[in-house]
């Protein structure tokens, strides 16, 4: 009797474990099947590097280069803002802050992670967007820059908490060794602790960027959504994610446009996958 119970429980757990893999495979097959169909009407090269995205013109022009560049620009901007601030914040929490401040900061960061992206997008729309518009004297504040700033807030919690973890797990005797040689606190941090934690910090940055590139709601609300190749960060852009979210609702099922949106999905999937694998490699290197 006990044996049967063990057997049943074991198998149930096995099924649960396999289910997640199974669904991932199903999703990928579905994505691939629907997405690859677009290459009947447009070559992969023209799809990836085509400069115009007019999916409802006749014939449709399905070049996603503006969307890829839009995503990259917004992500790069977010990284430039969030990486230095995030790492500095992690150093402060892990090394400098007194215990009390540390706890307040950590829960603050967690709270930031808990804000739904649509709320952040909404706040950005009514505060950040007019601000960007008036500071840079632009016709519209719905720009890549606004999106980058908002996304930086979303990347920050990931970067801070993982980088802080990496710094915290640097063996304490490295720090003692450096101090015993007469290093100041700051010299110890940037000559010993940061290099020792570097692989974890790179992983933190990659995971933060991974979060940014997949983000949809906030960018759709505040980047202006125009599918043109951006020349400065002060122009409206449209990202890959926002394109899918905005257009999937009204697309004709089975049309070229429909398949193209799935193909964009594949591109996003590949980018996120590559970022996560890179982050993973660095996390493993640390152990």
């Amino acid at each position: 009797m006990r044996k049967i119970k063990e057997f049943v429980i074991e198998k149930l757990i096995l099924i649960c474990g396999l289910a997640s893999i199974f669904f991932v495979i199903l999703i990928f097959i579905f994505l691939a099947k629907e997405g690859i169909a677009v290459f009947k009407s447009v070559s992969p090269f023209n799809f990836l590097f085509g400069k115009s995205w007019y999916p409802i013109s006749e014939p449709p022009q399905l070049g996603i280069l503006p969307l890829i560049l839009g995503s990259l620009l917004v992500t790069l901007g977010a990284a430039v803002i969030s990486v230095p601030i995030g790492i500095a914040c992690a150093v402060y929490i892990a090394e400098i802050a007194p215990q009390k401040v540390k706890e307040i900061l950590k829960s603050g960061i967690e709270l930031l992670a808990a804000i739904p992206s649509v709320v952040l997008g909404f706040i950005g729309m009514v505060t950040l967007v007019p601000w960007v518009k008036s500071i840079f004297h632009l016709p519209t504040g719905l720009t890549a820059l606004s999106g980058s700033i908002m996304l930086a807030f979303m990347a920050m919690p990931t970067i801070v908490s993982i980088a802080e973890d990496a710094l915290y797990s640097v063996p304490k005797n490295y720090k003692e060794g450096a101090l015993a040689l007469g290093a100041t606190h700051w010299q110890t941090i940037y000559r010993v602790l940061l290099p020792a934690a570097s692989s974890g910090i790179v992983a933190a940055v990659m995971l933060g960027i991974g979060r940014v590139i997949g983000e949809t709601m906030a960018v759709m609300m505040i980047t202006g959504n125009s599918a043109i190749i951006p020349h400065t960060i002060l122009q409206p852009v449209r990202t890959l994610t926002a394109t899918i979210a905005a257009e999937m609702g009204e697309v004709v099922v089975g049309s070229e446009h429909y398949f193209a949106l799935f193909a964009i999905g594949i591109v996003l999937f590949v980018i996120s996958f590559a970022i996560n694998v890179t982050a993973d490699l660095f996390l493993h290197k640390r152990r």
């Binding site: 063996p171 450096a178 015993a180 040689l181």
Partner: protein
């Protein structure tokens, strides 16, 4: 001539008094061993000499430690200068996760005290002084973490010697090493004492007897007996010292 002189030294961790009224004179160019059972305060005493205890919250001290006519416990003592003068080797070898070369020149880089062109000769000189140069001269740019435990500990000593300190504090430097490696590190210490004042904390009484000139025996925070190693080990004046060195406890 005493290099380090403690006067009525007391130290508390919170409410717990870890060092009780220690008066001792540590001579220059000699090896002084501090022995005693676990928790007797010997590591604490060692770490106070370059103020490493400052890292722990809730530490208070009273009394004086005089090094070169200055009381290093003064609140305005310059810790960077102090730790350059009084360096420390730890129980577990702790080379930084950098190259061997960068480990050796680390101290000079942070203190910015010599020209870049002199770093190479400094690295060679320091590695030679711990007898690592011939083994490692062709792999200076490999990670220090790839070395054996003994090599790591030697590297830590080289890293310290490169800062040109006057005193080397060693906190059970051989406790993670095998007997052969221990013997070689001990030989190295005998050589180093010509140029440095060495204070070593050890669990190992034979080690203390082998290498030290002076020995202090600590028990429950007190320095029970302090004197020439030969005297302490042959005719200790305190019953508790005798019990400890004859292995009745510890």
């Amino acid at each position: 001539m005493a290099k380090i002189l403690t006067k009525n030294l007391n130290l508390w961790y919170g409410d717990f008094q870890a060092i009780i009224n220690v008066n001792a004179a540590f001579s220059g160019n000699k090896i002084t061993a501090i022995i005693g059972p676990s928790g007797c305060g010997k590591s604490t005493l060692l770490r106070i000499f370059n103020r490493m205890n400052d890292l722990i919250e809730g530490v208070r001290t009273s009394g004086e430690i005089i090094v070169d006519q200055e009381n290093i416990l003064d609140t305005d003592a310059d810790l960077v200068v102090l730790r350059k003068k009084i360096g420390m080797v730890f129980q577990r070898p702790n080379p930084f996760p950098l190259s061997i070369y960068e480990n050796v020149v680390f101290g000079q880089r942070i203190h910015n005290s010599i020209r870049k062109s002199e770093l190479d000769s400094l690295a060679e000189e320091s590695l030679r002084s711990v007898l690592l140069w011939d083994e490692l001269k062709d792999k200076l740019h490999k990670s220090a973490l790839s070395l054996s435990l003994e090599q790591k500990q030697r590297l830590c000593i080289a890293r310290l010697v490169a800062v040109k300190p006057e005193v080397l504090l060693m906190d059970e430097p051989c406790s993670t090493l095998d007997p052969q490696a221990t013997q070689r590190i001990e030989e190295l210490m005998r050589e180093l004492k010509n140029n440095y004042t060495i204070v070593i904390v050890t669990h190992n009484m034979q080690q203390a007897a082998r290498i030290s000139d002076d020995t202090g025996f600590m028990l429950l925070g007190e320095l029970i007996e302090f004197g020439k190693t030969d005297d302490i080990f042959t005719h200790p004046s305190d019953k508790r010292t005798e019990d400890y060195i004859t292995g009745r406890y510890g």
